[in-house]
Amino acid sequence: MKEIVVIIGGGIAGLEAASKLLDLGYSPIIVEKSGRLGGHVARWNRLFPDMTPAADIVSELTERTKGANIFLNTEISFINRLRDSYNIKLSNGISINTSYILFTTGFSLFEAEKKEEYGYGVYDQVITNGDLEQWFNTGEDHRISGKEIGHIGFVHCVGSRDEKARNSQCSKVCCITAIKQAIELKEKFPDAEIWCFYMDLRLFGKKFEDFYTKAQRDYGIHFIRGRVSEVSENIEGKVIVKAEDTLAGKPIKITLDLLVLMSGMVCSQDSTKTAGMLSLPVDSDGFLKSSDNVMHITSSPKNGIFYAGACTGPKTVPETLAEARSAVLEIHSHISRK
């Protein structure tokens, strides 16, 4: 009999894991709460560092998981722990008995309206990184379309590295995302002046540094080290951003047509809820806790339950995919040992 593996979450981690499980001859079941596959990546337009279209990645992954059982618009109602397996009841009435569950529940974007001083949801000129990608995809957003965009700002670390936003961790990918988005906006609005307000630039990945150099040298994007203190609106419908330039050592005030907030990654509430059904521990950063953060990042403390992707912390797309494969291998060796 083919071993069943239940994958919670149909983002890229879930899809990649399903495709590898299929390759190994297992029978994966993907449970996805929304109506489509691909998670956050499906909502993104292009990916750094090579500007790969996100849609290509999602469609390739979807193609490879054709043989898997996929339940869309389905949530986990409850999970019962049996002697050495789990009984999962889905919201569509189906119940599954399995010995292996893989959490690929991913992350949520920090709700930018919680940083009240940036005026997201208050001012029409303020959008998030997610909104911007959506606009790249659809070209529809009343906050951007049909306006004359001459001055654009990016605020890094919105809801990351910020105790007051209840997330003191770095979200890892926003620095490079901001640079990527700034370049893309500059391509759309060649005459626009763009400012990025950052605390540190954490450009750790392959070719990230090149991106940064290119942004300054070829696109003339300004990088200002300092946090934005407040955002207000003037009578012409523009936003005034006050910040401190900590390198120049003086306060600055810039009037902008568009302000993009780089919302960070936080653990999704659904992840914690589902993890709670199995009494899985949550780490101090709010994400699910692996049994070891060095050696066993894909293992949970509970037998038969595994993690992959951003449910254990912020990760880039390649890292997520690699982790999905590694989790599959972990499951495979577990099954083989039986």
Partner: protein, 619 residues
């Protein structure tokens, strides 16, 4: 009544006399020192108030209500009120009636201070003095009242929860000595008078005790030791009084006329601050009231412990407690004797020397550009308004960090057709309150001066504020004659009452949180509730109004770290959500952002709620 001893003296009165003289001298010198420590202007004001019949009658009323009847405690907790007033008023009556007896029966002994106290030892009852039985009854009655209070006090020490107090003060050593001597005074008095009741006369209590005692102790020699014991207990109490919490008894007598004369704290350890510290009865009501008490480790940072450290002059702890406090003012609001915990702390902060003093004198007041704002006014001039006063809206820095409040407020002003001007749309000068709270009075004054100049030049009739922190300092420290200072809750209420806003009431349940600076700070409780109940169903928090719990985000605290504030916020939220409201409504930008960080339901400012419920342009 006839006297038994010609001398009218026995050695046993000595402990009492020594204690009494010591205590009296101490208190008189102390009172004189405190009055001398007052600034000259305040001292003059104090003496003038003593000859003013209005303040004097208020003094007398307060002496009775506060010192003897403990009316404030009664209002808070009946059992606690009875306990304190029975001991205070009962003892007072025993002293008064004791003196009346001496005046009536042995007027020549009036100058002997021990005579009224030990009257029963020195006299014998005669046939002609049966009318004294009325006094006998009164004396026994009040003794019984005091004894009942003592019994309650003993129970309270063991089970404070029965008295509605979760936590009580840990007594210091002098407090304990005072406490035990106070507890023993009245049973010993009963015993002593019980022994002599067949000679000196007595009533239901002492007479009956006398019968019981004589049934097995017929020897009169037993009499003297009990009188000695009674006198020693009194003597110990009097001697320890200046060093214990019982100092509040004489101190409060001076505090009341000083307060009624309108004198405020002007120095950290002298004058008014000092008398307030000594007036603290260590009752510990402030311990449960303190919002920091949500974390047990903070118990010793409440006002009662600050007062104790001030008496001990423990500098390190005084600074620590003073800087940690959120300055929510709840301890001041609940204090039965009127110790102003927040103001004492600000005075301590002000006394601290810093190496760096910020100087704001170079900030120009003409930098605030009203050019742009005038255009708005002209645009609105054609709208007829029932209120022809020009409104100057000062949003303040906290509102700048929660722009949704400013946006809603401006939208409401537009909808109501008000002629308005935004003072700090393009940045403004701080109101000065944060500096004031930090005890940096000088820099605060600089800002006050600058803002005053700007406001006076603006030609506004109303100064409108969104932030209660600003509102308080504008009310308390600015002199803006002819300009009405309103918080936006009050102005919104006025706009609604004048029919300038068309508001649709929804069914959502709204709980209103009283911000510290608006409620306890400025006494604005009703206006926001009136407004909220026009926009939805008003529900109340389990602690509201004067007892409202600080959100924990207060800028009052200089040293309380971000992570230390979370339990305080969660505790305040638990009180707010007791009646399961849909939305938490507040009227302070700082409370709004603090609560929304941890709340499980939306947190809105009152302006947002009203703006959402108001249809655009009624006209």
């Amino acid at each position: 009544m006839r006297e038994i001893y010609l001398s009218g003296y026995n050695n046993f009165v000595l402990p009492f006399v020594i204690g009494m003289l010591f205590c009296l001298t101490w208190c008189i010198i102390g009172a004189a020192r405190i009055i001398l420590q007052l600034p000259g202007k305040d001292r003059k004001r104090f003496f003038l108030s003593l000859v003013n019949p209005k303040t004097m009658s208020k003094n007398i009323r307060d002496w009775f209500c506060d010192c003897l009847f403990h009316v404030k405690l009664w209002k808070r907790n009946k059992l606690l009120g009875y306990m304190h007033s029975s001991i205070a008023f009962g003892w007072f009556m025993l002293i008064v009636i004791g003196h009346i007896e001496v005046f009536l029966y042995t007027p020549e002994r009036v100058h002997q201070i021990w005579y009224p106290i030990f009257f029963r030892y020195f006299v014998a009852v005669t046939d002609t003095t049966m009318k004294g039985s009325f006094f006998f009854f009164l004396m026994d009655f009040f003794l019984l009242i005091v004894l009942s209070g003592i019994v309650l006090a003993i129970i309270k020490r063991a089970h404070s929860r029965l008295f509605g107090m979760r936590r009580t003060t840990q007594p210091s050593l002098p407090d304990l000595i005072g406490l035990y001597s106070l507890w023993s005074i009245f049973p010993l008095r009963l015993l002593a008078e019980g022994f002599t009741a067949d000679i000196s006369g007595g009533s239901f209590l002492t007479k009956s005790l006398n019968m019981v005692l004589h049934s097995f102790l017929s020897d009169y020699m037993n009499m003297l030791p009990t009188w000695w014991a009674y006198s020693i207990a009194l003597g110990i109490f009097m001697c320890v009084l200046p060093f214990s919490r019982y100092m509040h008894i004489p101190a409060e007598i001076l505090l009341i006329p000083l307060r009624n004369a309108g004198i405020s704290i002007s120095s950290a350890r002298r004058g008014m601050a000092s008398i307030q510290v000594y007036s603290c009865p260590s009752c510990g009501v402030c311990i449960d009231a303190c919002p920091m008490g949500a974390v047990k480790a903070n118990t010793k940072d409440s006002t009662v412990y600050l007062n104790r450290q001030l008496k001990r002059n423990n500098k390190a702890r005084i600074d620590e407690i003073s800087e940690k406090c959120l300055l929510c003012g709840k301890c001041t609001a609940v204090c039965p004797v009127g110790v102003e915990g927040d103001k004492i702390r600000i005075a301590q902060r002000a006394a601290k020397k810093y190496n760096l003093t910020p100087d704001y004198s170079n900030i120009g007041t003409d930098a605030v550009n009203f050019q742009y704002n005038k255009k708005v006014i002209q645009k609105n001039n054609n709208v007829s308004s029932s209120d022809n006063k020009k409104v100057l809206y000062f949003a303040g820095c906290m509102t700048a960090l929660t722009p949704v409040i400013m946006k809603s407020m401006v939208s409401l002003l537009e909808k109501a057709g008000a002629e308005y001007d935004v003072m700090d749309r393009d940045g403004g000068i701080c109101c000065g309150r944060p500096m004031m709270m930090a005890g940096r009075i000088g820099p605060a004054r600089q800002m006050i001066e600058k803002n005053t100049r700007i406001i006076k030049e603006s030609g506004a009739g109303i100064l409108l504020l969104s932030c209660p922190i600003c509102y308080r300092i504008f009310k308390e420290n600015y002199k803006l004659e002819g300009i009405e200072i309103l918080h936006h809750t009050q102005y919104i209420e006025r706009m609604i009452n004048e029919g300038r806003l068309d508001i649709d009431r929804s069914d959502s349940r709204l709980v209103y949180h009283d911000p510290c600076e608006l409620g306890r700070g400025c006494g604005v409780y009703q206006s926001p509730r009136n407004v909220v109940s026009r926009a939805g169903v008003l529900v109340e928090a389990s602690k509201n109004g004067k007892e409202s719990i600080c959100c924990g985000g207060s800028i009052g605290s200089i040293s309380l770290g971000f992570d230390k504030r979370r339990p305080l916020t969660e505790n305040a939220l638990a009180s707010l959500t007791a009646d399961s409201p849909d939305i938490i409504v507040t009227a302070c930008p700082l409370c709004r952002s603090t609560f929304s960080r941890y709340a499980d339901r939306p947190v809105n400012d009152i302006a947002e709620i009203v703006d959402k419920a108001t249809s655009a342009d009624k006209r």
